[in-house]
């Protein structure tokens, strides 16, 4: 009798709970588009956030819902974009590649240090100690926080302690923009090749005491450029990228090489009139 009661109780309870689960499954079923899983599989799984979504899954949901075009994923290549577009039967969308650009050209061979920083080897730590040891207070500190934070191996410090962005690998995720204490990185479409590689707000030849490639605000680039393309603001040229900007004319007469042409295979190309840089080793530290 005891056995029977136990079996009946447990059996009844099982039946009751099972029915509840079955009903809940029917009533609360979430209709999910199966294509989301497929699209997610086609994405690079970098979860970098460059597209503006928290990760690849939310991006896949947005693509399937038709909110964004697959071309927005900056990590995937044209082939990957087309595969997703073909699968969903939608347009690829604009495939502008966004890359990070550095607004400083002051490596150790051209830019002086005013002090020797011997603390924690990181830019954000150095910047907390009265701005770091660099003579130019706007310039790159060169301790490589951006190189360490880059998930795509797209930033490497060159022999002059200046980060170089590998455009082919850069996905425009913006991690370097976030980490740089001097705010020298910014994200730009790859075709923005006319580039001001300086943030020094001072003017005149005095700035050259700290850095040989600083902008002296001579305004030659603004004069030479097609009308309206370059405006001087706070002693720095500002390129208006909404106008046609595929011209190398503005860089040619720059005396220091602060405005450059960014070439993916060569790097920053300086104008013909800019002062030649002969030094390869680091500059001696300024006595102060």
């Amino acid at each position: 009798m005891v056995v029977l009661t136990a079996v009946l109780t447990i059996g009844g309870l099982t039946f009751l709970l099972a029915s509840a689960l079955i009903i809940a499954n029917r009533k609360l079923y979430v209709e999910e588009d199966l294509r989301i899983d497929v699209v997610e599989e086609m994405l690079p799984h970098a979860n970098c956030g460059a597209c503006g979504y928290p990760g690849c899954r939310p991006f896949a949901e947005a693509v399937v819902a038709g909110i964004v075009a697959p071309g927005k994923c900056s990590v995937s290549n044209a082939q990957g974009h087309e595969a997703i577009a073909d699968y969903l039967g939608i347009a690829v969308g604009e495939q502008t590649r966004i890359v990070a650009r550095l607004a400083c050209a002051g490596g150790t061979n051209v830019a002086r240090n005013r002090a020797h920083y011997s603390g924690e080897p990181s830019c954000i730590a150095a910047a907390q100690v009265a701005g770091g040891g660099k003579a130019c207070t706007w310039g790159c500190l060169g301790h490589g926080d951006c190189e360490r934070v880059c998930d795509f191996d797209a930033i490497h410090m060159n022999s002059h302690d200046l980060p170089v962005v590998d455009s082919a690998r850069c996905t425009g995720c913006g991690d370097c923009v976030d980490i740089c204490p001097k705010d020298l990185f910014s994200l730009h479409p790859e075709d923005h090749r006319l580039w001001v590689a300086c943030r020094n707000l001072e003017h005149g030849d005095a700035v050259l005491a700290g850095c040989a490639v600083a902008c002296t605000a001579c305004e030659r680039c603004a004069v030479d450029a097609p009308a309206g393309l370059i405006q001087m603001r706070d002693n720095l040229p500002v390129v208006d990228y909404s106008r046609p900007h595929a011209t190398r004319v503005p860089i040619e007469r720059c005396p220091t090489g602060a405005i450059v042409w960014v070439d993916d295979s060569v790097g920053m190309i300086r104008g013909a009139a800019s002062k030649k840089i002969l030094r390869h080793g680091a500059l001696p530290e300024a006595a102060s």
Partner: protein, 445 residues
């Protein structure tokens, strides 16, 4: 007889670094000469930069207002010497950024005389008028934070203040400015307290002094005016006893909540040098154009406490004080919370409490070893944070977790954790970097 055995009041945790105050504590305050060119930054305080009211080429008088406050969170600037405004241009600042400053060339033989303005009489002025006078006098927290004093004294409408604490602790090693001010400017301090009591509406005032300054405590007690509700309390010698929250804890046993202000526990604390300046300047309607600093450290031959014009370039000050040629590092402020300077072209500002200079062998950085979780830092942290865990997270770059789960932003960077760490991990330096990153991210849209 038993006074030596008596336990002074204190807070929990903290450390005992060498005080190193013997070299300068007995040296009277001396007036500093004018530098050939003074650089007066327009932003020496926390808040908005002041707006210059002079033009290039203009002649100004010592004490004349040369920049006016831009809004409530800003203070005025005054000419440190009679002379010519050379230019208004960018100058290197302590924050590491170039900031606008007024370059002033004093006239040869410029006198130390200061012209008076409109006096603010404590007996007749209202609280609002006193606050305005403090702002116009350009007074900021002279202990080092340089927060505008009139903002600090503006008590929110929903809070009342019962106690005014005058902070004369000066727990930072090497610095002796507050010590000298309390010995030499007692009348100014008591006048300043009258103004502060009127502004805050506090019923009583406590002057907190560390037990290594018993001569000050005795002198202050002897000179107390009978009509003021002031007591002088001695607190234990411990670092960071002079931190606002620690001192409130030691004197009143009240705890300022995380992210809160002293007014949350009905207290306002004001640095003793700030109090003395209020008492010295307001009765004459003058502005702050000089302050007392300690120039010390093993690499300085003429160590001392100097009343120095604001805007004096550091290089001039250190050369006058006889800096050794072998000096390798100069710290702004004391060795615990001060920072190493990358350039000597930085001017002395209102927030500068002193400079100490060291030679190479005295500042060699020790080798760092891994954390073994000994928890010395946990026992040292006056805010009861967990520096060990924070250090590991900083190493892993998890600054968001540090801020959200481990109260990183409560850390006021006293450096006790780094000081006690047997593995020589630069904990506070990493927290400072992490705080910089968190603030940058939170400020970003």
């Amino acid at each position: 007889m038993f006074s030596a055995l008596r336990q002074h009041r204190s807070f929990a945790h903290g450390i005992h670094p060498p005080e190193a105050k013997d070299d300068t504590r007995d040296l009277p305050i001396r007036q500093f000469p004018f530098a050939p060119v003074m650089i007066v930054p327009l932003q020496q305080h926390i808040g908005k930069p002041a707006l210059p009211v002079v033009r290039e080429g203009q002649e100004v008088e010592r004490g004349q207002c040369i920049a006016e406050p831009d809004g409530f969170l800003s203070v005025a600037m005054h000419a440190p010497a009679s002379g010519l405004v050379q230019r208004i241009a960018l100058a290197p600042g302590i924050s590491g950024r170039m900031a606008p400053a007024i370059y002033l060339k004093p006239f040869p033989g410029s006198s130390q005389e200061v012209s008076d303005g409109t006096p603010c009489d404590v007996a007749t002025a209202s609280a609002e008028e006193i606050l305005l006078a403090i702002q116009q006098a350009g007074i900021v927290g002279l202990g080092g934070a340089a927060f505008p004093t009139h903002v600090k004294l503006k008590v929110p409408a929903d809070k009342t203040i019962d106690t005014l604490i005058i902070n004369g602790v000066e727990c930072e090693p090497y610095l002796t400015t507050d010590h000298r001010v309390m010995l030499e400017q007692q009348a100014d301090i008591f006048t300043g307290i009258r103004y502060l009591l009127k502004v805050t509406g506090a019923a009583r005032c406590i002057i907190g002094v560390e037990a290594n300054k018993l001569d000050v405590a005795d002198a202050l007690r002897a000179g107390l005016p009978g009509d003021l509700p002031v007591t002088v309390e001695v607190v234990a010698v411990k670092y960071p006893q002079g931190a606002e929250k620690m001192l409130i804890r030691a004197l009143l046993g009240r705890e300022v909540p995380s992210g809160g202000l002293p007014s949350d526990v009905s207290v306002v604390t004001v640095n003793v040098a700030t109090t003395a300046e209020i008492g010295r300047l307001l009765p004459h309607g003058r502005g702050i154009q000089e302050r007392v600093i300690t120039i010390g450290g093993p690499a300085i031959s003429k160590k001392g406490n100097y009343r120095i014009p604001i805007g004096t370039p550091l290089r001039f000050a250190l050369e006058y004080a006889g800096m050794a040629a072998s000096t390798s590092r100069v710290f702004l402020g004391g060795p615990m919370m001060g920072q190493a300077l990358p350039s000597l072209d930085i001017p002395i500002t209102k927030g500068t409490s002193g400079f100490i200079a060291f030679t190479e062998s005295q500042t060699r950085a020790p080798v760092e070893y891994p954390c073994i979780h000994c928890a010395y830092c946990v026992d040292a942290c006056p805010l009861f944070l967990n520096p060990s865990q924070l250090g590991l997270l900083a190493r892993a770059g998890q600054v968001e977790r540090m801020a959200d789960e481990f109260h990183l932003l409560d850390c006021f960077e006293c450096g006790s954790c780094s000081y006690v760490c047997p593995a020589h991990i630069p904990l506070v330096q990493r927290f400072r970097a992490a705080k910089g990153l968190v603030r940058k991210r939170r400020a970003a849209p």
